[in-house]
Symmetry: C5
Subunit: 356 residues, 5 copies
């Protein structure tokens, strides 16, 4: 489970000096992939690089440069970038620390943003979380991801077409677009969770089992996890908005405020889902109690009908010498009358109580 | 359900560039309706337009102009207005984003307000939410609604009559009147919910079933939804009050503070309702337990009376050769005496325990 | 119930223009009563007026004038006062809006204070809430109440006697004394609720029934209601303390800070009561479970003793030809020995389990 | 109980003018006791006075004077002190208002501090609360207590010995020492509560009864009470620290910050205890459910073993003419075999289910 | 348990004057150990001292000096250091007050930091807490620990190697490294707790017993304890970051902000664990209820099958003279048919109800 892993990853690093670049996850692809886009209003260069060194000349370009690095397991790549772009050692550590929370830091000549990209893994039915970092300089962005995800594809598509605002804007707008793409994915995950909740509600109505409880608790756990991922975003974007960094231009702040609204909306939904999951638990618990009542009713109805009848039959099974009814001609029939009368009285009683 | 839909709507837009005007709801009427009111203290012009272009000349009018647009599905209408009134692309997107939360933004030359209009749909017994946006300029207001609702009719009525304050005031007072009309509707919805709660309480007293629980949970869900709609209003109106925009005049702020009070009152009521719904759940759970006790009491009383009697009858059903009681003349009568005595003792015991 | 009514009252007014004077309560007395007290250190005039117009000359008096109006159903009275004292239309509306929350507003030439007077109606056993408004001018106070309550009598008594501080002070001190009288009443209501809780606790110890649960929930509801009435007072008095109005003199602020302490104390008590009511619910739920255990114990003890005995008696009721025990001379006695031995073993077993 | 009494005390005073000195508690000692300590670095005077007037000459002393008054029921004593030391009427009221919350007020020429002294009354097993007020002037302290408690004895001891800091410091340090003595007592009370909780946990493990639940709830109630007493202290000491009064010297503030830490620590403990009490409730509830399961298991095991056996014996108790088994020579033995076989199967089944 | 002990320790000191150096714990090692490291970029001196006096000459060293003292039970050692380094008496008290919360205080010429070192004692399976204090001067650090823990070993290792930043930095960076080492240990403890939770979850799935509940509650208790230890760290590091002390250099603040993130991450995990423990409780409670249902089902199924059968067999056990069926040739077979038919009907009924 996600929570436990994040701690394990952290505790494995205990004792190492700060600034150590240690990627504790299982590596998700063979070789890191480097993609570069270098564009302004009119021209655009797009390349897939094989060596990180090929990216460094673009540092001098006056156009907006986006260097996208997929795969964090080769610490020397991170180290090389750190050297060339003069990144603080702690940043180099944070880029690969998958346990690190979403955060925003202003290092004057660049901004450092850590995010979580969430995806619903339809195979396992679980939410997969990926560690994404952005370094936003005056005219470049370096993005680091763990594995090749589709979320940034739509951004690339938009950059290629000169008609979109992104081509006419600077690195700060590109940063906004990338964060927006990540947050949009959260809504997809929330939609999947919503579908799950719908299924669970039907299950609760039809035939809740102990498995249903397990599913409700899994859901609650996923919501706890989502909450942990989304909550810090609020502060992150708030800090970006209030930042006095010259990298973030005034006209971009309107977009950030829109982003802020999206995050609040996602948070609201998570909170609502948590409330709903709580109600589901109540319904489950009550259905368990109701089933017990149901069972006890069956037992009680049957017992109360037959126990007195059995007693009556027991009476006439006694071997007393002097038992007048035994010798009556219609004694047996009479007893049957008693049986039927008693049963009817009981049934009438239960009907009146609305038990049957 | 509302919560799930809002997310779905949002996630459908994932991947689109910001500023895209996409209305993801099922359209609620064939053609958009345009209503214009242009008034000052003395004169008033009221018209129903067929084309949005007919509204643009009023832009130059020195009087207060209210352009009310019903129906958000034609994106080119929104686009045209955006052009003429120089609206920010994000606003044009938000006007049709029905998932957007209530918010207030100051764009210097105009204010942008997003609200939710709530109505109790008496047919489905559910709360229907509509997305309403207001653009408040120095001497005009443009309002956008999804479908034709009665809430603004009373406002129109009041504008037509020159005696009311609205005719003597500017666009900011009109904005207040429109928001007030929307918030007044919340109280109608709350009243309906209050009626529902009253019914549920009676049901709980009389004969609670698993359906009662479902109703309580539906109620809780509606309260969660209401809360999500009303809560952001507090901040919205607070921001309006503290806004330094020259559009909102000082004498209008007293009215806004009154509005703020109404919102707090609505919030208070929602919170009280949530507390009450919580108590209902307790009562329901306890009534289920009580019913189990009731059932078990019946079973226990009957069993404890008849099981010993049956045992006694069993004794005299044994076939031992040497059983003196069998041969007594009044053995059978004696056993009946034993039966009756045992039953009375048991009944006395239960009476003392106050079980019967 | 209070909560539901307050909403209904509000929703009845939906659609009316702001400033409409509409009293939506059932009127509580035939004609409004006007009482005037006009005093300074040395002299005092006290009168009961029949027409509101008789009060207006006192407006010019240099002494402190207290105009107390009981009965809010005649809107023209409120209107007339509004005209003469130049009150804002919204104030005139709020004086009769019984759903309005406690609040404080500074209108420069006067302060407007809305409060709730609470009384424990010993006839119905419920808390009755009354809407009270105060208009505090430089040298006058106008108070509005719904019905004739005893709370202000002690204040009048004190004004009549020249030895008290109130005679030596201005309108702000009188305002303090009136609010203090209202808050003192809250403690009486809390004391009554405390008595109720004491009774409920005894009931819980002795013999809790489903009615006890209903009472606990009624109590919780009353506490929710109290909370809603007291909570806004905190802010109200806080605002008064921090107000820079020249009407509130510096030496009065010490008294306001004392008042603030009283409100906090009342809030504390309400919160403690809520916690206690929560514990009561736990005790009730647990007593229901305990009773079930009790019932099941009786059933189990009896069944486990008699079911095996019945089986034994059944054995010797079988009609096999070859059953040696049947023919033993002391077979029957032996079986009785078995019966008694089995019963004793069972009883010993239950004793050891501490069930009996 | 404490909470209820505090309200009763307050509501008894409703209707009295502010500043009335009314002690509503049962008086705890016959005559008030006056103790005076007047000291500087070198000399010390310690006296037990019989009349309050004897204390007034010390007012002129340049040394630190501590006047300790035990017993609050003689209002004229408080009145006399009020006159001589020029205390605000509200202070005189608060000194005897045992319902007043802990608070701090700066009256320029003196500080007024209200505290609660807590003691665990080992006789009743309950927490006793006492109302303590301190008036801290430039070179004097007047302390008011309800009854003679040991908490201040250690302070007196320390003053008598010239080696301690208190002899070298002013009235502000003495105030710190007195408050410290009171807060130290809180930890003693908490320790006693901790012991109680330990006992309760053992009881829960061994044999929880309905009494255990009552004890848990009493504990929760005491924690609510403690919380109410300690929580305002946080603010009180915070205000003292930030106070700009010239009475509190800079070097004393370090000690106040230490005091603040102690209060937080006490609060933390109360909160932890509340959490623990909550867990205890869970354990209790679960143990009730477990016991029910236990009972039902016994019933079910016994019933399921003997009911089928009884049926079999019933079969061979039937009187059919044609029943071959009856006439078999080993029929009876065979039936015993059936009995034993059935019982073993059942026992095996329950073993497999791990019920026995 | 930890919570109870901390209070006991505090209450033992009640009545002592502030500044008393009293170590209330059982001493954990025979003699205090003194370790000194004195280093700059190039040289390093490392020594284990036998007397504290040997450390004092290093006070004059211009290099960074780290004096590490293990064992707090000899109050004269603390006293001597206090004298030489001119520590405030309250600090000397706090160094040995193991009940003291984590805190940060700026005494101008040095900073005083109190921390808790947590270790998972694998022998007892409990979390052991140790009291650690740091005195951070311009070019020295004195650290106090209760017993010899491994956490600082990695720091020493790093100091010995000249390549690490710590050798090139001042005492503030060393302070950061020490705190970092302590916080890293928290993650180890959290990992252990995570493992425990994993085990508990499996236990819950397999076969939850009353012991499982005890374990869940122990876990909750440990989380409460952890929370109490970690929560104040947030404020501590925040205060360090905002401190204007000249001891903390600007370039170190980036590292503190990284530390802050770690603390938040630890807090997040504790909160998630608390939520998870809450879910576990729900699962436990529900599994108890489910087991009851299971038991009752067995009882009900068996009873409802055999009770009617027994009744039928009872009928033919009656001794009526006139009972035609008795004399039928196939009467007995017919009754067996009835038995089987009834049983099949019942079984079919239960199958349909999905009980079997």
């Amino acid at each position: 489970m996600n929570v436990f892993n994040a701690i394990k990853r952290h505790s494995e690093k205990a004792g190492l000096p700060p600034g150590s670049i240690v990627y504790t996850e299982r590596k998700k692809l063979e070789n890191p992939i480097f993609r570069i886009m270098d564009y302004d209003k009119k021209t655009i260069i797009e390349k897939k690089l094989t060596k990180i060194e090929e990216a460094f000349p673009f540092k001098e370009s006056k156009r907006v440069t986006w260097l996208d690095i997929t795969g964090l397991h080769e610490s020397n790549v991170i180290g090389r970038i750190g050297e060339v772009f003069e990144l603080h050692p702690l940043i180099q550590e944070d880029i690969v620390s998958t346990g690190k929370r979403p955060s925003f830091a202003d290092f004057n000549s660049y901004l450092f943003i850590v995010l979580k990209m969430l995806n619903f893994d339809s195979r396992t039915g679980e939410i997969a979380s990926e560690h994404v970092s952005l370094i936003v300089g005056k005219d470049y962005i370096i993005s680091f991801q763990e594995s090749d995800s589709a979320a940034f594809d739509s951004v690339r598509e938009r950059i290629r077409d000169a008609k979109w605002t992104v081509r006419k804007s600077g690195s700060d707008y590109l940063a906004y677009v990338l964060i927006d793409a990540i947050i949009d994915n959260y809504f997809k995950v929330l939609e999947k969770l919503g579908d799950k909740m719908g299924d669970l509600e039907e299950e609760l109505d039809d035939n809740p089992t102990q498995d249903t409880l397990t599913s409700i608790n899994d859901l609650k756990r996923e919501l706890i996890f989502l909450r942990k991922s989304i909550w810090p975003l609020r502060e992150l974007i708030n800090k970006m908005q209030k930042s006095e960094s010259r990298i973030i231009k005034k006209q971009t702040k309107v977009y950030l405020s829109d982003l802020y609204d999206h995050v609040i909306q996602a948070m609201d939904t998570v909170e609502s889902f948590r409330d709903l999951a709580g109600s589901m638990l109540d319904v489950y618990m009550s259905s368990v109690s109701n089933r017990l009542n149901e069972i006890m009713k069956v037992l009680t109805i049957l017992s109360t009908i037959f126990i007195p009848l059995t007693f009556v039959s027991g009476i006439y099974g006694m071997n007393f010498e002097f038992m007048p009814e035994i010798h009556w001609k219609y004694g047996y029939l009479f007893v049957w009358g008693v049986f039927i009368a008693m049963a009817l009285v009981m049934i009438y009683y239960f009907k009146k109580k609305e038990w049957i």
